[in-house]
Amino acid sequence: MAGTATMLYAHPQAHPRRDACLDWLQMITGACLVIFMWCHMLLVSSVLVGPALMDAIAWFFEATYLVQAGGPVIFVCFLAHFILAARKIPFTAGDQEIAWTHARMLRHRDTWLWMVQMVTAMFILVMGAIHMWVVLNDLPITAERSAARVASGGWLWFYFILLPLAELHVSVGAYRIGVKWGFISRQNRPKAKRIELCMFVVFMVIGVGTLLVFNHMATVLSAGRGV
């Protein structure tokens, strides 16, 4: 408000509840994506138990058309969440400078975590879209196909980059929803921070394990075929 505080601000709004509605939608799309990501992790990490289990779960989702219908819905949700959250992202060079200077000055964990959300969002927008396009164009989902993709070209590295970015964004995002809507209070915030960190570590371990199993599976399968 430096220098302008004596001015009267008028913010005419076509719809007085616009910002409230957009905030609700940002939270709801975010929460849906968090829940989706946890379910997604359950599906792909089921390969750690055995490829047959993953195939069975994938078959269930496809037989019930949850993939065919849900895939595009998640994609829309993903784009909508980006647009809604982008209302708060400083996009201009000047605003970027303010945000980074502020974060460096304050050395405050939750402020830095917001910078993490902002940066990971940009990568996830591109890489997540690529991932969804590739998977939804190669249905049905099976352990064998997933293994073949992970092991081909540079896909293993692609996923080794996307995985931590997505897991960071998801765990920080879940924590942020809790803080903003008051589920996380002053009293339970230290505990919530620990849960956030644990969630990230656990999902990273499962995620890396899953990628390595896929990669190993592909090697075994191609050796079995004598390729």
Partner: protein
């Protein structure tokens, strides 16, 4: 023999066209029970009478000596030098208008905040000054007092990512003020009237939940809990309004 503390202090006089913002170095020997306020006073008295900073109560009550201390907004009078490293950098609070060096004008900002939040009891009740004041439930009075403890130092605003990016974001001090009137049974403002003040991105929906306000508040006001409370309350108020207006008359 105390440590020789290395101070790096932001210097700038906006009224002097020749003045260029810069960091100036000072050294001062630490003494027992030295606060940053005492150190600054000594620097001004013994080394540089041109050094500008605000102070008044030197006891964490007036909120005048708020500044950025090693990157964090805080009160100079509450900062014990013995808890600080040997190198201390000082900047004025961002967001507010600079008066000179470490001094900023929080007064104009807070005056504007009173105007925006209409920071007074809205009531149609006639008050008879000859009668004893109406009694209030003790628990409610305590709850109001807890939020009323704000000393308007401006630390929460300076630490807020949103306030730094959006000059007209209301910030935790204003939102806390609204929460204070919401729980006051004497204030007759309706949910709709409160919504009109803070139900936008300049109010509660602009808050990104970074919680720097909560973490720097020198009075440890429960800002996080107030922000969560207001977002839920205003979020549901919006839904109620939507369903009300969409119902056929």
């Amino acid at each position: 023999m105390g440590r020789n503390i290395h101070f790096e202090i932001f210097r700038y006089n906006p009224q002097d066209t020749a003045s260029i913002p810069r960091m100036q170095t000072y050294f001062l020997e630490e003494t027992i029970n030295m606060t940053l306020f005492i150190a600054l006073t000594r620097l001004r008295e013994e080394q540089d009478p041109s050094l500008v900073f605000d102070f008044c109560c030197r006891a964490g009550i007036c909120g005048s000596c708020a500044m950025v201390i090693n990157g964090r907004p805080g009160l100079a009078c509450q900062t014990q030098i013995k808890n600080m490293p040997g190198h201390i950098s000082l900047h004025p609070l961002p967001v507010f208008k600079i008066i000179g060096d470490l001094s900023v004008d929080t007064g104009v900002w807070f005056r504007e905040m009173y105007r925006k939040t209409e920071s007074w009891i809205h009531t149609r009740a006639e008050v008879d000054p000859t009668l004893e004041e109406a009694r209030m439930d003790n628990a409610v009075a305590e709850e109001i007092y807890e939020l009323e403890r704000c000393i308007e130092c401006g630390c929460c605003i300076a630490a807020c990512g949103t306030a730094n990016l959006r000059p007209d974001f209301m910030g935790a001090a204003a939102l806390n003020r609204i929460a204070r009137f919401m729980i006051d049974p004497r204030d007759e403002r309706s949910e709709r009237e409160y919504f009109d003040i803070i139900g936008t991105d300049f109010g509660i929906f602009g808050c990104m939940g970074l919680l720097a306000c909560e973490d720097v508040c020198p009075k440890q006001l429960p800002l996080q809990d107030q922000l969560g409370f207001l977002r839920r309350k205003m979020g549901f108020a919006a839904l109620r309004q939507i369903f009300k207006t969409s119902r056929p008359a």
